[in-house]
Symmetry: C2
Subunit: 301 residues, 2 copies
C-alpha cells in the first residue's frame, strides 16, 4: 500500500571518531525514503532551496521514490545541520543549525499523494505535522517522530496531534520526558492513553520496545554492529524500514509490527556503518533479509 513521508532534506556536516563528512546529504525524509524503498514505493514530500548541491532524482534513481512532493524554492536556502559525535557514538553535540527553508511555510502535499494509506511524519513542530496530516484523506496508519524541544515547548500541540495518529516512534529520553515516568513500560502506557495505539521506544544500541493499547509488548535488541561510523539518520532509517515493511504488507497487526521492527532494526544497522547515505546505498534487499535471519538467531533461546 502507498507510503508517504514528510520530513527534512539537509546539508549535513558530521564529525565522528571515524572521520568527517562535510556538506553531505542528510535529512529525515532522505534517510527514511532510502530505507523504506527496499520494501515499497515511497511518496516523498520535502523542500529545499536553490543552493542544494544534491540531485535527489539521481540519489533515488531506480529506487521507486516518487519526488512529486519535492519543492525547490529559488529564493530560499536549504536546511543545514552540523554535529560532532562523542567517543561513545551515542551522545552528540550540535555544532550548527540553519533552519532556512524549514522555518518557512511547509511544502504542500501533491494531490496525487493525498490518498496515501501509510504516513510517516518525521520530526518537526507538532503544529506543522498536523497541517501536513490534514492534507491526507483518511490514512490507515500514521506514525510520528518528535523531539525533546516540542515536548517541552509545544506540549499542547503535541497532545492534540497524538489524538490523531496511530504510532509514536521516539527515543527513550523523550518517552520518559513526555510521560514524566522513568520506567519505560509504564511511560509507554501513559503515552498510549494520550491517543496512539502503538508506542515504539528507541534505545539506540540497546534496541527498541513496542507497546500497544491492548497490552501487547515486543522487545528487540539492536543488531550488534561492530562497524558504526556515523549514527546520523539511524532513527529515520529505522522508521523507514519499519514503515516500508508495513506498507508492503498492507497490515498493522501486532505480528506484522514485530517483523517490521526487526526490519527497522536491521536497516538502521546498515545505515550507521558509513557516513551519510553510503551505508544504505550499497546494499541489496537480500543483505537486509540475511541480517534479519542473523538477528533472529542472535536473540532466540
Amino acid at each position: 500500500m502507498s507510503l508517504l513521508v514528510t520530513g527534512s532534506i539537509g546539508i549535513d556536516t558530521v564529525k565522528t571518531p571515524y572521520g568527517v563528512s562535510e556538506n553531505c546529504l542528510g535529512g529525515s525524509s532522505v534517510y527514511f525514503s532510502m530505507a523504506a524503498s527496499f520494501f515499497t514505493p515511497v511518496r516523498f514530500v520535502g523542500v529545499i532551496g536553490s543552493d542544494c548541491p544534491f540531485n535527489l532524482a539521481q540519489v533515488f534513481a531506480d529506487r521507486n521514490v516518487d519526488l512529486s512532493g519535492l519543492e525547490i524554492r529559488p529564493k530560499s536556502k536549504t536546511f543545514r545541520w552540523a554535529g560532532t559525535y562523542h567517543d561513545n557514538m551515542d551522545d552528540r553535540t550540535t555544532d550548527n543549525v540553519e533552519l532556512n527553508v524549514l522555518a518557512e511555510a511547509p511544502p504542500g502535499v501533491p494531490d496525487v499523494f493525498k490518498d496515501s494509506k501509510f504516513v510517516f511524519l518525521a520530526n518537526t513542530t507538532p503544529a506543522l505535522q498536523q497541517q501536513l496530516l490534514e492534507q491526507i484523506n483518511g490514512p490507515d496508519f500514521v506514525a510520528v517522530d518528535t523531539m525533546n524541544l516540542w515536548i517541552q515547548d509545544h506540549l499542547d500541540d503535541l497532545k492534540k496531534l497524538l489524538k490523531k495518529i496511530d504510532c509514536l516512534i521516539i527515543n527513550e529520553d523523550e518517552v520518559r520526558m513526555l510521560a514524566a515516568d522513568n520506567n519505560l513500560i509504564k511511560a509507554a502506557d501513559i503515552i498510549l492513553n494520550m491517543g496512539p495505539s502503538v508506542v515504539i521506544t528507541k534505545k539506540g544500541e540497546s534496541g527498541s520496545i513496542m507497546c500497544n493499547a491492548d497490552g501487547d509488548k515486543f522487545i528487540l535488541p539492536a543488531y550488534p554492529a561492530t562497524v558504526v561510523k556515523d549514527p546520523t539518520g539511524a532513527g529515520d532509517s529505522y522508521a523507514g524500514g519499519l514503515m516500508g515493511y508495513l506498507a508492503q504488507s498492507g497490515k498493522t497487526d501486532f505480528e506484522t509490527l514485530r517483523t517490521a521492527i526487526a526490519y527497522g532494526t536491521v536497516v538502521a544497522s546498515f545505515a550507521v556503518a558509513d557516513f551519510s547515505l553510503n551505508g544504505l546505498a550499497n546494499i541489496r534487499k537480500s543483505d537486509i533479509d540475511s541480517r534479519l535471519e542473523t538477528l533472529r538467531k542472535l536473540t532466540t533461546f
Copy 2:
C-alpha cells in the same frame, strides 16, 4: 553438579525513590545463593562478624544452601554498605562503606567444598579471587565478577586471574574500561583474548550480551519489569540464576548458556521488585519458569 559461591554478606541501608530499607540483609553471595537455590544446591563461602543480626541458616531454611563455608569471626565486624538510588534507578550514590571483615584474610574453602565443579567468584580484589580459586581442585566452569576499581588499580592481578577462568560477567561500563573500546562487541572480543572463553556484558534494564571465543553471540533484553523498588543485588541474582541453571544442567555449551542467561534475566527481574531479599523470598520456581516463557514470547519475531 556442585555449585560454589564466594562473596560478601552485608548489612545494607538502601534508599530508593520507593522507600528506605535500613540495616537489611545484603551481599553478593547472599543474593547469588538465594537466586541459584531455585535450580540447584549451593555451597556458600563467606565471612561475618559477631555483630551480624541475621541468622543465615534461617534465611536459607529449605533452600538447599550449605553454609559449611560461613565463618563467624567473634572479634570482627560485618561488612556494611549504604547507598541511594537516583530517580532513574540505574545510577546510585554510595553513602557509606565499612569493609570491616572483608578487609581481613578471606574465609577458607571447606575441604568438603573443594571438589566443586561450578564456581562463582563474586566481586572482590582479583588477588583474593585467585586465592579462593586456588583452593578448588579442578573446577569445570569458573565465572567471575569484577569492578571498575580493580580494572583501574589491580589490572595485572585481574589479567592473571582472567587466564584461569571460563566466564567473566560484568557490566557494560566495566567491559568498555577493561577492553579500552566503546563498542561492546569489539570490547568483548578483546576480553576473550585475555583468557575467558565466555564474556557476558550486563546492561541493566537493557539486558545482556554473551560472546564466546568461537564467535557465537546471544543478546537478550531485560524482562520489562514495571515494579522496580530496589536494584541492589540485581547483578548477583542474575549470576545466581545463570550459574544455578548451568550447574543443574551440568552443561556449558552455547545452547545451555543461552537458556541460563534467560533464567538469570528473569530471576533478576524478581530480585529488583522489592527491597533486600524480599523479591526472591516470596516466589516459587514455577513463577520463574512462567516468566521465562513470557520473556520468550516478548522477544520472538
